[in-house]
Symmetry: C2
Subunit: 156 residues, 2 copies
DNA sequence: CGATTTTTTGGCAGAATCTGCCAATACTCT
DNA sequence: AGAGTATTGGCAGATTCTGCCAAAAAATCG
């Protein structure tokens, strides 16, 4: 999990793995111009150093009945460390919360919430989010449609 | 890319693959209580039907110098189909734009933008985003810190 | 510059995994 | 119960993985 200098080959490895997390080591080695052995070693190093955080399968939300994306901006009553930690622990446990950021500006936090329907969202608001200690103001906007969703960072 | 009924085993397969996109088929089969062969067949079907959209490696943004997350809300001058399509095509080509949603409410679009520094963000705003035809109002909030970032949908 | 150390690479080989095929099992519907 | 359909498990050749070691490349230092 420490610093590490990334050379041109590492960058290409990252680009490839971001595009296809199941590429075989042989294909990857071929793509970046190495033989399998040093290629695998580089990948392992990138994994162990935390630069590669993991590999995941991506599932179509609509296919599993999760068609509603909501963005929720939240103000807390107070912003001391304890309140922030409490709130963060709470949202981290909500399966509906896909993203959460501590923010500058009007809101303290912004959430991206994924649910199956508006009534599920209401349940989430009424029974979960507003029950968290310290939550003062909640503002919701809904996504009509996703336009771009990427996980691959621009590298190279 | 068509509809498909998901049974309990499929759900468990999806959960596992969302948690570890490089799990071997044998481990996966074991975890869901099948032998490798039918397990692989189910995975292939989920892939071909588009329920599994793909597999990706996740890279730490800070490790590649991308430490600034900005949320940008955008109003267009007009909201006819042509303008929307034009805007969407433009943002899809910006490597900085990780997410974009067509929104209800005040803003027409909301973007999550990932850059290395505030000056890079200014470049993005001045030379890219505001140059897109039809963009009228742009409001930015910055993330101080990511709290939750998940790709795994709640299934199971 | 040349010699030494350090780092990185490529090839090898046994182990593990993949994956298509086929017979056996389980399920469905009348 | 029985016919038909769908799903499963086992098998085996092909592919891939992955640790080890010697060779090559790069970096360091006198």
């Amino acid at each position: 999990m420490s610093n590490q200098r990334l050379d041109a080959i590492d960058i290409r490895i990252l680009a490839r793995l971001q595009a296809d997390g199941r590429i075989t080591n042989q294909q990857l080695a071929d793509a970046v111009g190495l033989s399998p052995s040093p290629c695998l070693r580089r990948v392992r190093q990138l994994e162990e150093s935390g630069i590669i955080q993991g590999y995941v399968g991506l599932v179509d939300p609509a296919a599993v009945g999760l068609g509603v994306t909501a963005f929720v901006r939240i103000r807390l009553e107070q912003q001391d460390d304890t309140r922030l930690s409490l709130f963060e622990a709470a949202v981290a446990d909500f399966p509906e919360v896909m993203e959460c950021y501590l923010m500058t500006g009007e809101a303290d936090y912004q959430l991206r919430v994924l649910v199956g329907s508006l009534s599920e969202f209401e349940d989430f608001l009424r029974h979960k989010l507003t029950k968290v200690a310290g939550v003062s103001q909640v503002t919701t906007s809904f996504a009509l449609r996703p336009v771009v969703y990427k996980t691959a960072l621009p590298v190279g």
